[in-house]
Structure formats: structure tokens, C-alpha cells
């Protein structure tokens, strides 16, 4: 039989299995109120900031639908991906292992890769259905007269989809490795907790832990939430996802000895680690945010691109110092996007900056720039000051001041009309009724 026909048969089977799962329907029932709650809170907050209560409105430039509406609304999916979705993904593997169906599945004329591809396709379709509340929220926002900027919106959705794929890879690998669904759930949650711990450690220390933590699911998603599409983030997420599927295939394969499985697992992890290391060095990125929050002004970017030699920046700011966060967001990340080689050295020893060692205390707050054998120090974390210093230091003529069109901001003082009715009143019973109908139809 043609492999495409086999695949379609398998996808239909996996779709039936997915929609027969209580975990999936529970996810569908809960996702509506979850997304709705986030959306309603976001719209209300946005309206308050826009001056709906009659008070002073925030500066219009600070009101972006990406930050104010999309990120919090779709943040509900991150919660669902962490706490609900793994159980749905695990079930697709674990149920077959526990019932013995996998012994039949392994003998079917379809290969293991087709079987896993079919499971993944069914999961994707299932997740697509779970996105209905998100789509409804976007439609509602537009119906209120809200603004959306397509590139940053699609970029955010891409981030969430990559996050979902990564979550699926991890959950399916856990289900393949573990003996039971319960053990697989523990493994998956351990992975999540591990990445949270890494985020926490990185936040407290900076430096190389922060470099690694930039690729945890939460941190990776943050780049998309900031309107930045980074090749290295996409590549690393793809590699981790593929590693998950590879481990699933390795541990679900028939007739392999434990030693062979362990050896192949080690090989897959080493290959993935190398691929992650290579991917992380990719510097290409695209600022797709409407307010170009991840970029210097265009004229400055053009001027800075003339710097070809490595720039080393030694930062004497502790990881928890708000100035460091400010510096990273408004200077360092932008420089990394423009300059081919930027090396950042985090020199502070303490977490807060209050208890630096003798000598180091005097240097605290200093930011040293090293270029072509010369060094210069500056304490500023403000863009114009740092750029002026850089131009002077590198001998590049600063660009002529060009007036760029300012981001207007999109204040919108509206109430989330009909949202409560749709998400809280209609969605759960509609999801439950669909579940009942699907079950009934199959009898």
C-alpha cells in the first residue's frame, strides 16, 4: 500500500484515539475559560491604561496590543502546555504500551517513523482545535476596534507552535522511556521543573547559565513575545523537538537490547548537543515588532555595521541589578543583532551587587568596552549615550540625525463585550456537547 495512504489511515486512527481521550476533552473544556480569563483581564487592563476610568491615560506609545493583549491572552496556552497538554501527548504512547496495542502496532506494515509522524499530526490537529478560543479572542479584539500588527502577531503564534512541538517531543519521549503514563508524567514535569530551575539560577547569576537558559521553553518563548525572531532560538527548539522524537523512536523500537538503546540514546544526545551548540552560534534575527523595540534606529544600525572587529564588553553589574536587565534589553541584545562579534563578560561576583568583594566594589557599575586593543569605560545604560561613546571609541562617524516616524501606540478604552458569555458560558458546554456527540457517534 502506498505510504501516503498508510499515513492517512494511521492519522485517522491517532485522531480517533486522541478524541477518545478524556484528557484531551478536559483540555478543550478548560482552555476556553483559561484563554477567556486572560483575554478579559488583558482587555480591562489595556482599557484602564487607555484611560477608560476617566483617569490619566498612559503614554500612548507604551500601549502595544502585542504586550497588552496578545502575549497575556496566549499566555494561557503556555499554562495549558505546561500543565495539561503533556498528559494528552503522553497518553498517545503510554496507552498503547500499557494495553499491549503497541505490540500490534510494531508489526503493522507502517514503519515506526510513520507511526510517530501520525501521532504528531493528530496532536497538531488537536492543538489547532484547542486554539479556537485564541482565535475567537483575536476576532473579538478586532471587533472592538483593536489594532494588530501582522508580523509580530504571526511571530508570537510561531513561537507558541514551536513551544507546542517541543512539549510534544519531550512528553512523547518521556512516555517512550517510562514504564507507565504516571512515570512519564513525572518525567515530563521534572523536565519542566528543571528548566524553571535553570531560569531561576540564570536570573540569579547571569553569565553562561543565562546563555543556556536563553533556550528553555519559557525563555525561548519570551523572544517571540518581544517581537524578535531569532534563528538560533528556532533552531535550538527544533533540535530539542527532533531529539524528543528520535528518543521516542529509539525506545519504542522493537527487538533492541537495553545496551543498544542506551548507546543510541547517548549518540542521539551527543549529536543533538553538537547541533544545539552550532545552532546557538547563529546570529541572524529579525525584529518583527511594530515599534522596533529590538533594534537601534536604522541610521545607527547602518553605522554600527561598519564595526567588523570583535567588541568585548565587561559588565560590572550583578544579575539582579535592574540596570543590567535594562542594559541587556536596550543595548546588548541590539548590539548582538548588528555586530558580527560581541562578547559579553559578566564580571560581578554577587547576585545583587551589594556585597561585591574588595576592589570589585569600586568597579561596580562600570561597563568596559574593549575594541582593537583599546579600552574605554562607561556607566551608562542609555542608548544615545552608549552609542555616542561607541562611535567615538571605534572612530566611526555618527550618522546624521534622521527623524524616524515615531511609534504611535494604540490606546483602546473598551470593555471586553461578549467575552464572558463566549468563554465562560458558551465554550465549556459546547466542548462537553461535542465530546458527548463524538462518543455517541462512534457507538
Amino acid at each position: 500500500m502506498h505510504s501516503l495512504k498508510l499515513l492517512s489511515l494511521l492519522i485517522a486512527k491517532e485522531w480517533r484515539e486522541l478524541t477518545a481521550s478524556r484528557a484531551y476533552w478536559l483540555l478543550l473544556v478548560l482552555i476556553g475559560p483559561l484563554v477567556g480569563n486572560s483575554f478579559i483581564a488583558a482587555v480591562n487592563l489595556y482599557a484602564e491604561a487607555s484611560g477608560i476610568g476617566g483617569g490619566a491615560a498612559a503614554l500612548a506609545q507604551g500601549l502595544t496590543p502585542l504586550d497588552g493583549i496578545l502575549v497575556p491572552t496566549f499566555g494561557a496556552y503556555e499554562l495549558a502546555l505546561t500543565l495539561l497538554f503533556p498528559f494528552v501527548a503522553i497518553r498517545l504512547i503510554a496507552a498503547e504500551k500499557e494495553s499491549g496495542a503497541w505490540k500490534l502496532a510494531l508489526q503493522l506494515p507502517t514503519g515506526l517513523s510513520l507511526t510517530i509522524a501520525a501521532k504528531m499530526t493528530a496532536l497538531l490537529a488537536g492543538w489547532l482545535l484547542a486554539w479556537l478560543p485564541g482565535v475567537v479572542a483575536v476576532v473579538l479584539w478586532k471587533s472592538y476596534g483593536g489594532h494588530l500588527y501582522a508580523p509580530e502577531s504571526w511571530n508570537l503564534l510561531l513561537g507558541h507552535w514551536l513551544r507546542m512541538l517541543l512539549g510534544s517531543g519531550v512528553a512523547m519521549a518521556a512516555a517512550a522511556l517510562a514504564e507507565s503514563a504516571a512515570s512519564a508524567a513525572i518525567l515530563t514535569l521534572s523536565f519542566t521543573l528543571g528548566t524553571w530551575a535553570l531560569d531561576f539560577i540564570a536570573a540569579g547569576r547571569g553569565g553562561w547559565p543565562a546563555e543556556i537558559a536563553a533556550y528553555t521553553p519559557v525563555a525561548a518563548l519570551r523572544w517571540f513575545e518581544q517581537g524578535l525572531l531569532r534563528l538560533n532560538t528556532v533552531a535550538v527548539m527544533a533540535v530539542i523537538t527532533l531529539l524528543g522524537f528520535a528518543l521516542t523512536a529509539l525506545w519504542m523500537q522493537a527487538g533492541k537490547k537495553l545496551s543498544a538503546r542506551l548507546l543510541h540514546t547517548l549518540a542521539a544526545v551527543v549529536v543533538a548537543a553538537a547541533a544545539i551548540w552550532l545552532s546557538s552560534s547563529a546570529r541572524a534575527s529579525w525584529d518583527v515588532s511594530e515599534n522596533r523595540r529590538n533594534s537601534f534606529p536604522r541610521a545607527d544600525e547602518q553605522a554600527l555595521r561598519q564595526i567588523r572587529e570583535p567588541l568585548r564588553i565587561t559588565i560590572n553589574l550583578a544579575a539582579e541589578d535592574p540596570r543590567l536587565m535594562d542594559y541587556e534589553r536596550s543595548i546588548l541584545n541590539k548590539l548582538r543583532r548588528v555586530l558580527p562579534r560581541v562578547e559579553a563578560v559578566y564580571a560581578a561576583q554577587s547576585q545583587t551587587g551589594l556585597f561585591e568583594g574588595a576592589g570589585a566594589q569600586d568597579r561596580y557599575g562600570e561597563i568596559w568596552y574593549e575594541f582593537a586593543g583599546r579600552k574605554v569605560m562607561n556607566r551608562s545604560t542609555t542608548v544615545p549615550i552608549v552609542l555616542e561613546q561607541l562611535y567615538e571609541f571605534t572612530g566611526i562617524a555618527p550618522p546624521a540625525a534622521v527623524e524616524e516616524p515615531a511609534f504611535p501606540g494604540y490606546p483602546l478604552a473598551v470593555h471586553p463585550k461578549s467575552a464572558k458569555l463566549i468563554f465562560y458560558v458558551l465554550w465549556p458546554p459546547v466542548a462537553l456537547l461535542t465530546w458527548w456527540f463524538v462518543r455517541r457517534k462512534r457507538r
Binding site: L6, L9, R16, A20, G100, L104, L106, P109, A254, R443
Partner: protein
């Protein structure tokens, strides 16, 4: 003519040897019974032959050619005992899935009638009794086209009448050219349905042949399979 040849298959779980240099032949079109006491290694042998479980040595040949584990599913299909697959799906779906997947000459509707599954077609697999589930699994096995079908305890869970009907059906398929290998712990059933038998005891083959040949091997003048079994194991 030999369809499948097994030479020196061994399997250990830790320090415990479950199969030790197992060897026998399966002839084209026969019903071969694998019998042995509990723990003899029957299921482990089936899983090794099917390529689902790795063996620690030995060779399996199919029509005089070595058949590596990864290609076993081309030659044989193994139906395990005690599985309850796809509990949320209906009997009709399961039969239809296998029928479409293999697109063999045997129709699911025919097997559903022969195995008295027609009234269960709309039932969820998870709601079936042990015997009903066994009949469904047998139907799935018989829908596969591989030349050799290995059934682990095919009569387990069936009542006397059903057992006889399934035996007749299996014989009918064997007469149609399909080779069957059955793992059976009920010796009376084995004697009734099998052309030849392989006796497995503590992971070793202690006898192979027809009942007459086994009787001779056991140096018994008369007696049934039970006596032979007791004499050889």
C-alpha cells in the same frame, strides 16, 4: 517444505536463562502447537521470533533464507495473549482498520460472522468480555496476510463451543494455505487442533513431531498427549 526454521535461539533475563538453544521447524500449511508448562518460555519465544523482544543468539530462517529481526513482520504476524488494545474504539473500527491496512483477500465482515462478532460491531473494545475480546483479536490476526500466523493462547477465555468453532476456523485457514503456530497450555486442545507439536520445558525443546513421533520419543506404547508431556517434561 519448511516455512520457518529456528536454530539455537536463546534468551536471558538477567542471570535467568529463559530460552536455551531453542530449535525447531515450521512446515508450510501446518498447524504447529507450542506446548509447555507455565514459565516454559512460550510467550518469550514468540516475542523473540516476532522480533519484538531481542534474543541473545540464534538464527531464524524463512523459506531457506535468514530472516533478520527487523524483517520478521514481513513473514509472520504474532498475536499476543492478554492484550486489550484501543479500548475506546469500536469492534467495527478495529476490523475495518486492519482490513484497510492490509487489503487482504479475507473480508472483515466474513470473519465477524465466522467469529460471531456481528452483534458486537458497535461495542467498544474496552467493554468486551475476555472471550469476546479474544475472538476480535483472532479476527484481527486472521485479517493479516503474512504466511505464518503465531497465536498465543488462542483458546484462552473461550467456552467449549467457541473453542471448537475457532479450532474449525483455524483448520480451515490452514487448509487454505496459511501456516499457524499456536501456543497452547490446554493439552487436549493442542492434540485436537495441531498437526505437529513442539514441547518446551524450562526454555529447552524436549520434543518435536506428531503425537505418534512424540510417543515414540517418550518411549511410550500408548497414551495421549498428557502422558507424553509428563514423560518428556
Amino acid at each position: 517444505m519448511d516455512l520457518l526454521t529456528v536454530h539455537g535461539v536463546s534468551k536471558q533475563f538477567g542471570v535467568r536463562a529463559v530460552l536455551h538453544q531453542v530449535g525447531f521447524r515450521v512446515q508450510q500449511g501446518e498447524v504447529l502447537g507450542l506446548i509447555g508448562p507455565n514459565g516454559a518460555g512460550k510467550t518469550t519465544l514468540f516475542e523473540c521470533l516476532a522480533g519484538l523482544s531481542p534474543d541473545d543468539g540464534g538464527k531464524v530462517g524463512f523459506r531457506q533464507q535468514t530472516l533478520p529481526a527487523a524483517r520478521r513482520k514481513e513473514a509472520l504476524f504474532y498475536l499476543p495473549d492478554g492484550i486489550a488494545p484501543w479500548a475506546a474504539q469500536s469492534v467495527q473500527w478495529a476490523l475495518g482498520f486492519f482490513e484497510k491496512l492490509y487489503a487482504g483477500p479475507i473480508k472483515a465482515a466474513t470473519l465477524a460472522a465466522e467469529l460471531k462478532l456481528e452483534h458486537l460491531l458497535a461495542s467498544r473494545i474496552g467493554s468486551l468480555s475476555k472471550g469476546e475480546r479474544k475472538r476480535l483479536l483472532l479476527a484481527l490476526g486472521l485479517l493479516t496476510p503474512q504466511p505464518l500466523l503465531m497465536l498465543d493462547e488462542p483458546f484462552d477465555g473461550l467456552d467449549l463451543r467457541q473453542t471448537r468453532e475457532v479450532m474449525a476456523l483455524l483448520r480451515q485457514h490452514a487448509e487454505g494455505g496459511r501456516t499457524l503456530m499456536l501456543s497452547i497450555h490446554q493439552l487436549n486442545d493442542a492434540a485436537r487442533v495441531c498437526d505437529r507439536l513442539v514441547l518446551l520445558s524450562e526454555g529447552c525443546v524436549v520434543g518435536e513431531g506428531s503425537i505418534d513421533e512424540l510417543r515414540e520419543l517418550a518411549k511410550l506404547k500408548d497414551g495421549g498427549l498428557e502422558e507424553i508431556f509428563l514423560a518428556l517434561t
